[in-house]
Symmetry: C2
Subunit: 343 residues, 2 copies
């Protein structure tokens, strides 16, 4: 392993108004820091890009503090230890962390998970075995509580979270209907992932197609999207439907509230009349204690071939801003990961 020379870091340059632009990011070159006693130096191998990051670019109130202007963009990472003055980490160990959009990071070990020296498929720890897979698993099972024979609708069905949600729904005996953007993603969702149906939200008659695919209504709607997809879902919800709210990507670039009429009370009335349970969650805040169980169960499903997944790997840290902008536009196909450095 060659000696580190410089640390490329992608900083938040300005807070986006609407869609992020390339100029909202800035590539900065810094010296590689040296670990002091009790510290370790991490070389980023893979960086996860996820929709929640749009929220961190904004200073609107949220569940987590925003990235400050001039700070490194946040993000989940799989890294390797390149120098350690920490007793629990050795050079060469793989580490799951949250070290952001940069080549190198110093750490005192807190918040890191040591994955050992031998790790097959490290990028999976950012996808099907990481935050997105865990988000799919807990949101569906704990809030959605799918029962055999029920109809589960999954937004963003070809994405990192949705693809896992739907496959777990099939394992649990549900009729699973995905929603995705474009015929290629829909074909993948049905033919490769085994969903019962997948509806293209770009189709002019999307709402009618969704209704036709859910002849017995919707019992669980796994919300990743909001917007027109949720609009089409609402009239189809059955009594006692459950809605885990994982994300509303359709609104992340919004610069203000949409025009009226105001449907807030309509949604409250729907929740009341249909006795709907609608619940948000933040995966590691609400369910951290369940991660080991998830890893065991998901590892088993992967081995058995019951869960399939797709990664959209983009090479080069410098390409992260453009890839992230595309993610918010639905341009990725599968879990979006930046390969920051070859293993």
């Amino acid at each position: 392993m060659s000696q580190p020379q410089q640390n490329r870091r992608i900083l938040l340059a300005s807070r986006p108004h609407g869609e992020p632009k390339a100029a909202d990011f800035r590539l900065d070159i810094a010296a590689v820091p040296q670990p002091a006693a009790g510290q370790l130096l991490l070389r980023t191998r893979y960086l996860s890009l996820d929709p929640y990051m749009r929220g961190r670019m904004s200073d609107a109130p949220s569940y987590a503090p925003p990235v400050e202007i001039g700070q490194v963009m946040v993000g989940g990472t799989v890294s390797q230890v390149v120098a350690s003055q920490h007793p629990q980490f050795n050079t060469g160990d793989w580490v799951l962390g949250h070290d952001g959009w940069q080549d190198y990071a110093l750490s005192d070990g807190s918040g890191l998970r040591n994955l050992g020296a031998d790790l097959e498929h490290p990028s999976r720890l950012l996808g099907v075995l990481g935050m997105p897979g865990f988000t799919a698993y807990m949101g569906l099972l704990d809030i959605g509580q799918p029962q055999p024979g029920e109809t589960l609708v999954v937004a963003a069905a070809s994405g990192a979270v949705g693809s896992v949600v739907g496959q777990i729904g099939r394992i649990k005996g549900c009729r699973v209907v995905g929603v995705a953007g474009g015929p290629e993603k829909c074909r993948y969702v049905v033919e490769e992932l085994g969903f019962d149906a997948c509806i293209d939200h770009l189709a002019a008659d999307f709402a009618e197609q969704l209704a036709a695919a859910c002849p017995q209504g919707i019992d669980v709607y796994y919300e990743n999207v909001g917007g027109a997809v949720f609009d089409a879902v609402m009239p189809l919800l059955n009594a006692r439907a459950r809605i885990p709210v994982c994300g509303i990507i359709a609104h992340y670039n919004a610069t203000g509230l949409p025009a009226g009429p105001d449907r807030l009370a309509m949604l409250e009335g729907l929740i009341l009349r249909k006795r709907i349970r609608m619940q948000g969650f933040i995966i590691f805040d609400d369910y951290a204690a369940g991660y080991d169980d998830f890893l065991r169960q998901m590892g088993e499903w992967l081995e058995q071939g019951k869960i399939r997944f797709r990664e959209d790997i983009v090479d080069g840290l410098e390409n992260a801003p453009q890839a992230f902008i595309g993610l918010l536009q639905g341009k990725n196909f599968g879990k979006l990961v930046i390969r920051v450095a070859d293993e």
Copy 2:
């Protein structure tokens, strides 16, 4: 007990547009029916008036079928058996049922609860020991899950449901803040019911007063109202807040959606960021099996003086329409009950 002569019945004459008017109801005089084998004849003593009835006057989709034009208005009743050809009911027995806005009803016994020949305080079975009290109890405890030290905000705090919600919240160790209309109701809520505070939603600075009364935010909001009260609650909700949705009376007379902007996605975003659980329920559909437990627990609390309540009893079936119209305007003070006939 004198022999029945005629059966006054209040029928739905027309579907209201906006606020119900007296002309939407019609008083009809029919012959008193005679019970056949297996039937019993019930004399209505008390009729419950509740906000949900506004929904039954409308043919908009809801959780229950509407009252048809020309049909007797639905409603919970406490009655006495005046003639019985049914082995499980004797003349003189008190009965809890759902026999609507009329003097007499025939029944085959299904859906009736026989309360026996001796019943003190029969009207309580329509209030603190009936549907409203049970609604308060299950919605707060099962969905709201109040924890000691948390802040509970209760809309319509002097009403049949809200008054019980808040007192149970106090028993469970919460800081309880009520919302009611006018200083007299607010005084009652604090001084008689023991809430920690009560805010008048008619005050110009209602939202500021509510915020000041909830210095640690809101952990449970028991929703009976919607509208401006929910608007003031939303910014105060803490992470992991729970919102049992019991009713949205502010919207029951609405003739269309309010003007924009559209805040539907704003509410979804709030549910997501704050990990809120928002859940509707229909008490006897969702929790019927728990009624006996509730009766036991609430009876104990009443005996111990831990729960107080207030009834707003109006004499005469013929006054039910006007009393109901007033209920939707917040004119009642306590559980609204019609005394249809003296005991």
